[in-house]
Symmetry: C2
Subunit: 207 residues, 2 copies
Amino acid sequence: MKLHWSSRSPYVRKVMICVYELGLADKIERIPSVVSLTKPNAEVMRYNPLGRIPTLILDDGRVLHESLLICEYLDSQYNGKLFPPLLPNKGEARWTALRRHALGNGLLDALLLWRSEIGKPVARQTPEWLTTFALKTRNALEVMEADADALARTPFDIGHVGIGTALAYLDFRFADFGWRTGHPRTDAWMQQFLQRESVVKTTFIDA
Amino acid sequence: MKLHWSSRSPYVRKVMICVYELGLADKIERIPSVVSLTKPNAEVMRYNPLGRIPTLILDDGRVLHESLLICEYLDSQYNGKLFPPLLPNKGEARWTALRRHALGNGLLDALLLWRSEIGKPVARQTPEWLTTFALKTRNALEVMEADADALARTPFDIGHVGIGTALAYLDFRFADFGWRTGHPRTDAWMQQFLQRESVVKTTFIDA
């Protein structure tokens, strides 16, 4: 399989964490790909009309894009019964995992727009947006803090991938935000997450 | 259940189409909610830290947000075996449905950012973004056109909801784009989609 990939994309990192968890790293050829709204990537667009990454090209030529879909596909095809699925099949465990993932992923959506806004010349920035992104981030951290002990007790799944990747992206791009202040339980959980092999091997690099 | 809702949100519309398909309309209390990046909605944020809609509050107080997750939850809890699931349980049917949904939903993500960019004073717009959004939309329509006959032959599922809602949003907010030109198969499929009861009952209204 081929994966349009970047060491800076949090959506790619979610997929790569799953890839390492599933022991699939040697089955995936990574194609370094830079995408942005200012410079669309024609090569990625050959496979994904929306020009976003991660975009996975299966060996039979079919294409999957959107990180959660790729994670679910890989988990269902390659997990076997070695360990609990990264996406629990059904019941409360599934909704809890997907709710956590949605919180982490929704925070990522906000963070990427926030960063893109900050990167504009000041005259092009919309000040209300900047305020809103900070508010959303603070709110999300509050919800994560209330859930952190339960998260720590849950077997590793896509919920951990979603929450952990969002927090790692805060560290990577918004270090000054200081998210750990006031969120000791989330911080404690994150210290464990950051030691996991699949997480270590997918560290963000500003190449 | 209570749903933070708007007649203008395509993500809400996807959920509401599923709600009507599942015969759940009288079980869902709609709470009209206006959200935007310039004016965050404090009431929605009480339930969803990211302040986005749709946000579903279950009768036991748990909260689900992110439209695909809400659709999957409602389908799995309320579909029973009356008809094929809106999210096929597994195998090729599931990947095909979710790929189509990802294409429609990813197009919606681009369209909402595009519209938000167009709504800014010209001095704050980023011209390259406008070009990229138009390119993504043309690309997505090409992929949809190549798939339209297969889509028409597939039993109604979340793939149809995703594609149809994106095209309906193009009609609603980008009528001048003229997406039907050059896409006769997609147009033919869309004419059927627009007659479906769940789609008629969820028409976009610029309230």
